[in-house]
């Protein structure tokens, strides 16, 4: 457990990417959200960590110090300039208070119960339509040739399995997917493209993912989805969320045009 600056704690559960470790990570994150504390801002997960963002002022009880009429009441829990050592006499410093709370959650709930929590959640499988042909997949041929496959075989290998969304990061709505077939490994391009259209599906090394925004990038682009991965107008602003399971479904160009959403340009 370590501080990420003065407004977050990170709890690291392991050092390798694995489904089992990830179940623990997502289970513990869900637990914190079920049992929040005053001053909790949000919880974010990565492959191996749970990051807990907090508001030190709220935790120090600072909000209570401002009276309804706008005047300030001297609060015993806050440090004052003429007694800078006030922490010794006050409730725990905010950072320590959050750390203690999180340690308590870890101890109070045994690992087994955290696991059980995740199993009860229904697996949410999201089908993502992808047009793999022509202009939408400019590097499809390259990826195929890299392994001596046909284009159809590449599409088959990409669509015949479920992927797990481990986390989102890098850009709004960008999902880190796990579970791609090693047979599709394709090294990043030596010269990255200047503009990759939003919705582009790519392979970079052993990873596959979808670019939610138009950006430069070095991945091999094998197709494009008409769905908006980042949808700020929606109550759920990202199509995918950590923990979701994903399946790619091949569609043709006409269906692509028909299903095109308000994709970010």
């Amino acid at each position: 457990m370590y501080p990420l600056g003065d407004q977050a704690w990170v709890m690291r559960f392991g050092t390798a990417i694995s489904e089992e470790l990830y179940d623990l990570v997502s289970g513990f994150a869900a637990l914190i959200e079920r049992k929040p504390f005053v001053g909790l801002r949000e919880v974010m997960i990565t492959y191996t960590t749970v990051t807990v963002y907090y508001d030190p002022w709220e935790i120090a009880g600072g909000g209570a110090a401002l009276q309804a009429d706008g005047s300030l009441r001297q609060s015993a829990s806050l440090p004052t300039p003429h007694c800078p050592g006030a922490w010794e006499q006050t409730p725990t410093a905010p950072g320590d208070a959050v750390a203690e709370y999180l340690q308590g959650l870890l101890e109070e709930i045994g690992t087994e119960q955290v696991w059980a929590g995740t199993e009860e959640e229904a697996a949410n499988v999201i089908h993502i339509p992808v047009c793999y042909s022509g202009e939408y997949g400019p590097d499809l041929q390259t990826v195929a040739e890299h392994h001596g496959y046909s284009v159809d075989e590449v599409i088959e290998l990409h669509t015949n399995r479920e992927y797990r969304v481990y986390m989102l990061g890098f850009a709004p709505g960008f999902a880190y997917l796990g579970g791609m077939s090693e047979k599709l490994y394709a090294p990043r391009k030596a010269v990255p493209r200047v503009q990759i259209p939003a919705g582009s599906v790519g392979i970079g090394g052993l990873q596959t993912g979808i670019y939610p925004l138009e950006t430069p990038g070095g991945w091999n682009i094998i197709g494009r989805t008409p769905l908006a991965m980042f949808r700020p107008w929606d109550k759920q602003p990202t199509l995918l969320r950590a923990g979701d399971r994903v399946r790619f479904v091949a569609i043709g160009p006409q269906e692509f045009v028909r299903r095109l959403e308000g994709v970010m340009q």
């Binding site: 600056g5 003065d6 050092t15 990565t46 960590t49 600072g62 005047s71 440090p79 602003p237």
Partner: protein
């Protein structure tokens, strides 16, 4: 309709305190780079401290007032003028319909904030009015302001005419400062000499934010840090150098972060990091050994080793850096970081109480 942008300045955006709750979706917090200056400006005009305001960068804009407006400017000195006459920053000002406010190149620092009484009427996106331009999210149509844009201030409830009369009258208060004078020096400083303004119709309050509570803005600031998780992965002489030498802010710097130039940061041995969280203030060391200080629009996650984190209380100092600025780092404990943050928060609350008291007296 409250103000029209005549000249947009170098990079002017609508910002508030940021977008929380969506980091899990890869959405950065964004928000004002110098949160103290934004909040002080808001408090001066009677807004909630986190209301949406304008963030100005390096070169300020020129605005036309389409109606009488109360506003305040806080942050870097950009020599604001109304119809050619200098106006002071760090205090509320009332301009009349038809007047022009012009700001120039920052003499010191980099960023300044203009808050309008009533805030800025703009639809929030994902709970915030902050602009995240890379994804065209929030603020004014998801982008920086341009010439011709019109902004609307919200209702403030102030009687601007009577305030102009009172501020122009030259009267100075005789009552003592009501707010905690025995604990801390006054957060508002009386302007004994006043501002000559009656002749052109705008008026400035005869008090301003005390320099004593402003962050320690200076040419070569010292940024306090706490150690990052991977700090022990760096060679000891590199850590020592990081904490004792100066770094220069390179031209490759913007709201996402600043590339710094200086003492190389070398790892004891190669480190393959799995992506973990990053936050504004985080200092990363990429393979080339030159640190990157992440700022408001930074990505939510990163794979580079994190050597340190600038404490929140010192982020306003970081926000005032521009290419060529020199900075140093000094280590503090997490407790000290929190103490500074809470003291800063207290100052802003005191400021708010002080301003409310002044406004109520009018």
């Amino acid at each position: 309709m409250s103000i029209r942008i005549r000249r947009a300045g170098m990079y002017t955006t609508v910002q508030d305190l940021g977008r929380y709750g969506y980091r899990g979706g890869g959405v950065p917090v964004s928000g004002a780079m110098d949160q103290f200056a934004l909040r002080a400006a808001n408090v001066l005009v009677g807004n909630a401290s986190g209301a949406a305001a304008l963030e100005l960068t390096m070169v300020g804009p020129e605005l036309e007032f389409l109606e009488a407006v109360m506003f305040a400017i806080c942050g870097a000195e950009m020599e604001p003028r109304i119809n050619g006459q200098k106006v002071p920053a760090w205090r509320p000002i009332i301009a009349q319909k038809g007047q022009f406010l012009e700001l120039s190149r920052a003499l010191d620092g980099c960023r300044s904030y203009i808050a309008l009484a009533g805030g800025i009427v703009i639809p929030p996106v994902m709970g915030s009015k902050s602009t995240y331009a890379r994804a065209r999210v929030g603020g004014f149509a998801g982008r920086a302001l341009r010439s011709g844009d019109i902004l609307q201030a919200g209702r403030s409830g102030f009687n601007l005419d009577s305030m102009v009369r009172s501020w122009s009258s030259g009267k100075r208060r005789t009552k003592p400062n009501l707010v905690m004078t025995d604990v801390r020096q006054s957060v508002l400083t009386e302007d004994v000499h006043g501002v000559q303004n009656c002749s052109v119709g705008w008026a400035a309050a005869p008090w301003y934010v005390s320099p004593a509570i402003r962050p320690a803005y200076r040419e070569k600031p010292e940024l306090r840090i706490i150690r990052g998780r991977e700090s022990k992965c760096f060679k000891q002489e590199c850590m020592d150098g990081f904490l004792s030498t100066s770094y220069r802010v390179s031209p490759q710097s913007d709201r996402m972060g600043y590339r710094l130039q200086g003492e190389q940061l070398e790892l004891v041995q190669p480190l393959e990091m799995i992506t973990e969280a990053a936050a504004p203030g985080t200092i990363q060391a990429p393979p080339d050994g030159q640190p990157i200080l992440l700022m408001s629009d930074c990505q939510t996650t990163g794979g580079y080793p994190r050597i340190a984190h600038v404490i929140s209380a010192d982020l306003p100092l970081a926000a005032q850096l521009k290419p060529g600025s020199m900075i140093r780092f000094r280590e503090v404990t997490l407790r000290e970081a929190h103490e500074q943050l809470l003291l800063r928060e207290m100052d802003l609350r005191l400021l708010q109480a002080g301003v409310r008291g002044r406004m109520a007296e009018l």
